[in-house]
Symmetry: C2
Subunit: 187 residues, 2 copies
């Protein structure tokens, strides 16, 4: 087997299983451990321990921020019962790989969670919505969602949200949100 093809193979093995040690790889590719280390050095592939560590730390952050958020996006302004603004920067993992266009539900999630946050109630649930996607949003773009309560009657709130990228409207939605009394949800 050629050096170059072995290196490609090794890269694929590591990608598919980052937990492989040099020892494992040496056995799999039936070369000496030194060859593996030379190859890794040439290709700037770090050792197993740091591969695992960066994996763990990379994911660690995401988990925490996802749990921390009841909201999708970062709340930059909120006047409960009136209006609010949230910002969401589209990252690669929110996009369709082929086009780098944000999946629609991230845009929706941002506006929906903002709409719910606006409602001054212990628990609020979305009843119906009408959404309109104006143009695709690409990876790296910063979506600013502005919401305000347009009507309110007893426990029903109508919330309008407009999401823009650099003042260009990319999405708008109208949400009918219900404030739920405690007896209903605490079953």
């Amino acid at each position: 087997m050629q050096k170059s093809s072995r290196q490609q193979l090794m890269e694929r093995y590591i990608k598919s299983n980052p937990f492989l040690t040099d020892d494992d790889l040496a056995e799999i590719l039936s070369v000496s451990i030194q060859t593996i280390r030379l190859d890794r050095a040439e290709m700037n592939i770090p050792e197993m321990r740091s591969r695992v560590k960066t994996m763990a730390s990379g994911i660690y952050g995401k988990i925490r921020s996802m749990e921390a958020d009841e909201l999708m996006g970062e709340l930059v302004d909120l006047e409960v019962g009136r209006s609010g603004v949230s910002v969401l920067t589209i990252t690669d993992r929110m996009t369709l790989k082929k086009t780098r266009v944000a999946r629609g539900y991230y845009i929706f999630a941002q506006s929906n969670s903002l709409a719910v946050a606006l409602v001054d109630a212990e628990v609020a649930l979305t009843g119906t919505c009408k959404l309109s996607y104006k143009r695709p949003v690409y990876s790296g773009e910063k979506v600013v969602a502005r919401a305000h309560i347009s009507r309110k009657s007893r426990n029903r709130y109508m919330v309008r949200v407009n999401s823009t990228v650099k003042d260009e409207l990319v999405f708008s939605g109208r949400f009918l949100v219900f404030a739920i009394s405690e007896e209903v949800w605490r079953r």
Copy 2:
């Protein structure tokens, strides 16, 4: 400081940051490294390297499946251009902690991604939608989304989706999906 309270503290430190080495902990708690190791042994807390490893491996599977999916939910039936069915089981991380009610956008994401998958095109984007949430969905429930194309004209598809839990309708949506030609998105 007492032994027991130090151990509790140590446990919390490790929980909040699993990357701490015995050395780090010894410094933080200002005891010797041997004490830390005794404590870990008593409390059956594994060493940093294996903590990191199990973290990484635990999450490794999840990431891959999330990446593999362009869809939210599992596709159980799909006849492109006609109809499809997807199943999504609501887990705790999809719910509002207070109520254990699924956040609306997960239900939406399932139906929306199913609607897009139905459309026979390289790239499809959602234009507008009307959604209606019929009742809250709780953690553990299995949401079955059934979609079919109700109208089609040139590059526009109207997709209707009904999501049920055990034959009870929990959500319905109508999506206007656009099939996009390659020139538009490959900028």
